[in-house]
Symmetry: C2
Subunit: 222 residues, 2 copies
């Protein structure tokens, strides 16, 4: 019983399951699975059967396209409240990406049949699911835009300005390696661009934080 | 009346509206809009308000991300039966891409309110909508993979093998310029790669067609 109450509480806080009827929530909580992943552990690999979707309750998950040559391209970083694995599930195709925990994470896994049952019984859930998928489309379009039409400096500035900011301060929660791959840069190029922004007195780097010194001058580079 | 019957007939043939109840189909046919676009005409520009989605009844539409510098990145080519504009519509955000007719095209435009009404009254429509959005995610992931992890030759081979094939023959329906932008290559690089494949006796180019001479040797390059 404690387990059910716990998952219910988690689900209720997630945007995807907000305003779900009591009965739906209860049924979902009974049928879904809590999964814990240690830092660096894989949630799934490319080619695995996509039989459900995952919602991040706690932690951070990296989605990337692996490559035979060893490099991988980071596609998305999923934070608490976000879901992933929907597209493969709805298409009934194996995952194109691999998912790996960037820190100790708690995920909720919901099987395809449960998602479809909830869609069938609650159209507002279907709409939230459509919004969630649309957010993936939006994020990928911005990624394609950055890689094809922006130079290294512009990619770094766009990335910094898109992060949650606290008093002009951006916390770099991911490693330089992960951020560089997300931006389609080498870690060395990312470092060089950050140094250049420091030299131009546009940012200051202090530990894992970046202080934005002049947002309007930064934006003028875009 | 003739207009309604015509749109109904068109809708019924499109994957998104298959198996829709008579009443739903009738209501959609009454509320949606037929729009004709000449070759090269824009359907919408980046930044336009995304108040509905489009389904291609006849023709071919190019979705691309424009750039201040004049180049643009082709993101997707939508053929008859495919829909576009969903993500912006569901997020209530302006379009990130621009849509342009590659040939004389007939589109059906459905307003957001109509889509939401149909989702609310028919869960199977919501599911088909989710599949349609998932296909966009899948296409974009493959695009990101090609641009980040494949060399020029591999991108050209992947593109050729993904096209509908008739007796080993691929019809190049889009201009070299469009295909090159889709693959993140210059038109000159695309030409060079095609010539190299001809020299290697892997393909033969005849007019607007490419004859695949040795599919397994082509695949060995990937």
């Amino acid at each position: 019983m404690a387990r059910t109450l716990d998952i219910r509480g988690l689900l209720q806080q997630l945007p995807l399951f907000k305003n779900l009827a009591e009965r739906q929530l209860e049924q979902l909580a009974h049928s879904c699975e809590q999964c814990r992943f240690d830092r660096n552990q894989f949630v799934f690999h490319r080619g695995d059967s996509a039989s459900g979707l995952y919602v991040v309750a706690v932690g951070r998950i990296k989605l990337s396209i692996p490559s035979g040559q060893g490099q991988a391209k980071v596609v998305e970083l999923c934070e608490a409240g976000q879901s992933f694995g929907e597209a493969g599930m709805f298409l009934g195709l194996p995952y194109l990406v691999e998912a790996q925990a960037l820190e100790d994470s708690l995920l909720i896994r919901i099987a395809r049949a449960e998602i479809e049952r909830t869609i069938d019984s609650d159209p507002s859930f279907a709409r939230r699911m459509l919004v969630s998928l649309s957010m993936h489309v939006d994020a990928m379009l911005r990624d394609i835009e950055a890689i094809n039409l922006q130079n290294a400096m512009q990619r770094v500035i766009s990335y910094l300005l898109a992060q949650p900011m606290d008093n002009g301060r951006v916390r770099l929660v991911c490693s330089k390696h992960v951020v560089a791959s997300k931006l389609g840069l080498t870690p060395e190029t990312l470092s060089r661009q950050l140094h250049q922004l420091v030299d131009l007195q546009l940012i200051r780097v202090c530990g894992g934080d970046v202080q934005i010194l002049d947002e309007s001058r930064l934006k003028a580079w875009l």
